[in-house]
């Protein structure tokens, strides 16, 4: 335990030093100043970026959790394995291909970007919801039913609270993927910080590229921390391995 903690601390210090060194280098080479020139663009596009994350991620949660609950029902064992296979296949298709396919059907712009991102985000959410609900011991369900809970009460008072930790772990993975993929949405006209990144690449301008990349990375970290905190505080202590 002591050694693991020590290693972790050493790692954190190393990362901090690296970030600091990177900052020094960026400042001295003038790239940071270049990047800061685009402050207005960054703020506007970051907002757009977050909107894309919120809409596509929110949709994925709204679709994925109920779908997972539905698939976790005993009667859908076959359907579940079929969908599991489709999901596994889906993860092998390159992200860009999914966006391109969405574009061919829905055309350029926000709808196809949201669609593609939602599909990508859906997978970990559905899988974790199924796994979480299935991990609830059958004895709990029997006790709940024997005490006179309705199916609805069993779902909301027993199954979901006990699966919440695993479901939120799925959300965390899903949003990490989502935030990191949003830049690609620029390619099909979805907007977001991808605009700065890809323009930077095309113009061979590292300052512009970093003006998009650094906020994207920060957003990813921020979202991860937020969901991590939600996981820590929302999941009751009795079923929370973190507490």
């Amino acid at each position: 335990m002591g050694m693991v903690a020590g290693l972790r601390q050493a790692w954190q210090i190393l990362v901090l030093l690296a970030v600091f060194a990177l900052g020094v280098w960026a400042k001295s080479s003038g790239i940071l100043d270049d990047a800061l020139k685009y402050q207005d663009d960054i703020l506007y596009l970051a907002r757009q970026h977050m909107e894309l994350v919120a809409i596509s991620g929110g949709l994925a949660v709204l679709i994925g959790v109920p779908l997972g609950v539905f698939l976790a029902r005993a009667g859908f064992r076959i359907l579940r394995s079929v969908i599991g296979q489709i999901v596994n296949l889906g993860t092998t298709i390159p992200t860009l291909a999914i966006l391109a396919m969405a574009m061919t059907v829905l055309g350029l712009g926000l709808p196809s970007a949201v669609f593609g991102l939602t599909v990508l985000t859906l997978l970990p959410i559905v899988l974790n919801t199924v796994a979480g609900i299935e991990s609830v011991p059958p004895a709990l369900i029997e006790a709940a039913r024997g005490m006179g809970m309705t199916n609805r009460q069993i779902l909301f008072k027993v199954e979901l609270p006990n699966a919440l930790f695993v479901i939120l772990a799925g959300l965390r993975t899903a949003f990490a993927i989502n935030v990191g993929t949003v830049p690609l949405a620029f390619l099909i006209g979805g907007g977001g910080l991808g605009e700065l990144i890809f323009t930077g690449i095309d113009l061979m301008e590292p300052g512009l590229l970093l003006a998009g990349a650094i906020p994207t990375a920060l957003l990813a970290v921020l979202v991860d921390v937020l969901i991590g905190q939600a996981q820590y505080w929302l999941v009751p202590r009795g079923v929370n391995p973190l507490r």
Binding site: P137, A139, L140, E142, A143, A144, R145, G146, M147, G148, M149, T150, Q153, K157, V158, P161, N162, L164, P236, R237, G238, V239
Partner: protein, 368 residues
């Protein structure tokens, strides 16, 4: 209180429960006993309709359960299962209050009740109310499980091998606690078990199941003394007569008002008393009647002096409330043919002898 009328359960082509009829009176503990797969658990689960029955009728408190909806029926019946099934996301307090909360009872009152119930199952509310199930041992968890089943004060309790997964020492303890609780609350209990010792200990009546039918439904003593067929005899075991020992308390078996002497008596008085009663020893009591020692006939005969100078220590005594199994065990341990019986304060109340016990157990066979 509970009546089953021709209750049958058929799975596909397999008849799990075959027209079972039985009646359980209020306040009784009815143990459904049998090997696994005999239909005892299925029968129990048809009462709260976790298993729907194929045909038949079940009445609880005079009401035909088929006229009630599942949820109302189940909330009026306490349910305890072997796997305990406490909700890990809820504290002990909230676990106990699940049914009262579902029924929309006032929160304050139900929390107060939870605290009382926890005390009744020998857990300190101050320590345990706010804990989570994972912070409790198995025995503690099932105590909470019992408290939870009692929270809405249902008249009927269904218990599915509730103490089966608990280690023997804790099981013994929690069984005793439950019996104490039951003596106070007088619930009507259906208790599924495959352990004959547990059944003998807990039951007012035992129903022995085999292949979905009740083979014998009777009091523990009758089942042990007069098993109806070789299946029941085998199931209750070849030592079934010894098991009957635990059904009888020392108080029931002892000869009361025995002769006694005090320290100031002459030995000759003691000898006379023993010869009068045909005893080989006599208990010496203190001034207020506490058992203090014993004078043996062969040691006292022909000797002079007072009892106080010649008594020996009593090798062992037995409490009136203990069962005969413990009494016999004590006799064997100390190589005695009789035991002095005392009450909680140590007052000498009577004696039990090996002969007397043998006679008592044999009585039921001689009557027939």
């Amino acid at each position: 209180m509970i009546r089953l009328d021709q209750v049958t359960k058929i799975y596909g082509t397999m008849t799990a429960v075959d027209s079972v009829s039985m009646e359980v009176d209020p306040g009784e503990v009815c143990v459904l006993l049998g090997p696994s797969g005999c239909g005892k658990t299925t029968t129990m689960k048809m009462i709260n309709r976790l298993v729907p029955m194929t045909s038949g009728r079940i009445y609880v408190g005079g009401k035909d359960t088929s006229t009630l909806d599942d949820v109302t029926l189940r909330r009026s019946i306490g349910y305890v299962i072997q796997q305990i099934g406490l909700f890990p996301n809820k504290t002990v307090e909230d676990n106990i209050c699940v049914v009262p909360d579902l029924m929309g009872r006032e929160r304050k009152a139900s929390r107060r009740r939870a605290s009382e119930l926890l005390e009744m199952v020998n857990l300190d509310p101050v320590i345990f109310l706010k804990r989570y199930p994972k912070e409790l041992s198995g025995g503690q968890q099932q105590r909470v499980g019992v408290a939870r089943a009692l929270a809405a004060d249902p008249p009927v309790l269904l218990m599915d091998e509730p103490f089966g997964a608990i280690d023997p020492i804790n099981r013994e303890e929690i069984q005793n606690e439950f019996m104490k609780l039951q003596a106070e609350l007088k619930k009507t209990v259906i208790f599924v078990s495959h352990d004959i010792d547990e059944a003998v200990k807990m039951a007012s009546r035992i129903a022995i199941f085999r292949d979905g039918r009740i083979v014998q439904y009777d009091t523990p003593d009758n089942i042990l003394a007069h098993p109806i067929d070789s299946f029941v005899a085998d199931f209750v075991g070849t030592d079934r007569t010894l098991k009957r020992l635990q059904l009888i308390t020392v108080a029931e078996a002892m000869a009361a008002d025995p002769p006694r002497v005090v320290a100031g008596d002459e030995l000759s008085t003691a000898v006379r008393l023993m010869e009068e009663h045909g005893h080989i020893s006599i208990v010496m009591v203190g001034p207020r009647g506490r058992a203090r020692g014993v004078v043996k006939l062969d040691a006292a005969k022909g000797r002079q002096g007072s009892v106080g100078e010649h008594y020996e220590k009593l090798p062992c005594m037995i409490n009136l409330r203990d069962d005969l199994r413990k009494a016999v065990s004590q006799m064997f341990t100390h190589d005695q043919t009789w035991l002095a019986c005392v009450d909680d304060d140590g007052f000498y109340k009577g004696y039990v002898t090996q002969r007397g016990i043998t006679h008592l157990l044999g009585a039921t066979y001689r009557d027939r």
